[in-house]
């Protein structure tokens, strides 16, 4: 009985979303709003229990301070009760940066949100710099240095070189250089075409998934 109700509800919501293909309508608006609300709620709860609670409140000892009994002492208890330094106190800095991020909502002191943003941008850039250089530059170049003993290798090398030539704008695309750039365009076109084909396949898979649910799981018309 439960599955009949949940399947019917899911079917109504699916039909509501698909109805947008005909034209915008109140059922679609309702389903869209419901989806956004449920997603936001889900992510908030998920992030609270995965991040805020264990990493910030538990590690600092705030949950213990608020009376929770099944949680061990945190950094604040270690510092003020036992007089011991606890490295979990560093989470306090993360917590302060998190609060500063929210200050964006207060126009008068909104500028403070730039500091945590700068921290995030800086650390992510640093993390990616070496990794990208190693994996996306060095290893990719290494992957392109291939013997010309097969058609696949030939296509790969010609495609890479002519593609790079197309994006080289310091020299006018004329003569042999222009010809190579033109070949590069053809390779790019094939890439875009393949990408488009894959995108169609992806969207079709989602449509098939929903229609299979409607006609199979819900209506039972598929054997």
């Amino acid at each position: 009985m439960d599955s009949v109700f949940s399947n019917t509800l899911a079917a109504i919501l699916t039909i509501g979303i698909i109805s947008f293909l005909y034209k915008d309508n109140p059922l679609y608006k309702f389903c869209e709003s419901l989806f956004i609300g449920v997603s936001a709620g889900y992510w908030f709860v998920q992030q609270y229990y995965a991040n805020l609670l264990p990493k910030l409140f538990d590690n600092l000892g705030i949950t213990r301070l608020l009376g929770a009994e099944n949680v061990a002492d945190g950094a604040l208890q270690n510092l003020f009760v036992r007089g011991q330094w606890d490295e979990n106190l560093l989470y306090l800095i993360a917590g302060i940066l998190g609060v500063m991020m929210l200050l964006r909502l207060v126009p008068q002191i909104g500028w403070m949100s730039r500091w945590p943003m700068a921290f995030i941008v800086g650390s992510i850039a640093g993390l990616y710099f070496i990794t990208y250089f190693q994996s996306n530059a060095m290893r990719q170049m290494q992957n392109t240095i291939l013997p010309l003993n097969s058609f696949n290798n030939l296509v790969l090398i010609v495609g890479t070189v002519t593609g790079i030539i197309y994006f080289y704008f310091s020299k006018e695309h004329k003569g042999a250089f222009g010809g190579a750039a033109r070949v590069g365009i053809y390779f790019l076109m094939v890439t875009f075409g393949a990408s488009f084909g894959y995108t169609v396949m992806s969207r079709m898979s989602l449509l098939i998934g929903r229609l299979d649910f409607l006609f199979g799981t819900w209506l039972g018309l598929v054997k």
Binding site: L21, L207, I208
Partner: protein, 293 residues
């Protein structure tokens, strides 16, 4: 109004209707196609096949409900293969939504089809941890720094199959199944390359083209969209015929997929013919008016 003018001004809803029928009819008729594993898919199958019993496979569920139709068939086939080969499966998620999907896969595939498998000995659910690529960066050197318990709260050292796990290098292969960021690419960049651990991936068709440059040296193999899933299912059935009676949604979905693609190709061809006919007609009219000489 000529045929081509009618086509040029056709209501887009008519096209939707055609696509709808192109999918609904094969779904109702259970029309499916025969699949053969391509080298990029076969490479993953062969890798799993070559692993000795008890090898450690890290499977990352980096996707959400919106991409379940594409990714879940890959997960199901890979789990069946790993269980059949008696490999140890470590399941984790870089996406918050992956946590529940691990639980569902555990119940539907492992507990239902391989009831003799023991939790904590043959498979474990490490759950979701926030941190994206930062998380991979940490577990590259120290797994237990991030995973102090499993998903149900058991102390990590009390889980038998976690005892000899130190970091990512402890695993024989990493399988990342995902549909975006963080996903297969992050596993290659932050896990596979620096740790020199083989990484294989399964990705939504949208993100698959961006991953091909990593194959075969940085990425062992790739299941691209539902076609990749169908190919893996067919390789699994070929290797283990007993799985023919199990569900194979990837292969089932390739029938409607093929028909829908044929309809789209026909529309693209008609659209192009219409465009060139209209351009030629416009050129003729302008020539008659003396605009073009």
């Amino acid at each position: 109004m000529s045929f081509f003018e009618t086509i040029a001004n056709i209501d887009r809803r008519v096209i939707f209707l055609f696509i709808g029928f192109a999918v609904i009819i094969p779904v109702l008729l259970s029309f499916s196609c025969t699949e053969e594993a391509s080298p990029i898919v076969q490479a993953i199958f062969d890798k799993i096949e070559s692993l000795p019993e008890g090898s450690k496979v890290l499977m990352s569920f980096d996707y959400g409900p919106s991409t379940v139709p594409e990714i879940q068939p890959m997960i199901d086939a890979l789990l069946r293969h790993c269980c059949e080969k008696n490999l140890r499966i470590y399941m984790m998620a870089l996406w918050g939504t992956g946590h529940n999907l691990i639980s569902e896969s555990m119940v539907d595939i492992i507990e239902h089809e391989f009831p003799h498998k023991v939790y904590g000995v043959d498979y474990v659910n490490l759950g979701y941890k926030a941190g994206n690529q930062g998380l991979i960066n940490v577990i590259l050197t120290d797994m237990k720094k991030m995973y102090t318990t499993d998903a149900v709260g058991t102390e990590i050292d009390a889980v038998p199959m976690m005892v000899d796990i130190r970091n990512l290098k402890s695993f024989d292969v990493i399988l990342s199944l995902g549909g975006g960021f963080p996903g297969v690419k992050e596993w290659v960049l932050f896990g596979g390359d620096p740790g020199n651990v083989p990484v294989a991936g399964g990705a939504t068709a949208v993100s698959a083209p961006l991953l091909y440059p990593y194959y075969p040296r940085q990425l062992l193999g790739l299941l691209g969209g539902i076609k990749g899933a169908a190919e893996y299912e067919s390789a699994l059935i070929k290797g283990y015929p007993k799985f023919k009676t199990h569900s194979h949604p990837g292969i089932d979905m390739m029938g409607p997929q093929t028909v829908a693609h044929i309809v789209i190709v026909i529309f693209i061809v008609i659209g192009n013919i219409t465009f060139f006919v209209a351009r030629r007609k416009e050129g003729d009219e302008r020539g008659e008016r003396g605009i073009l000489k």
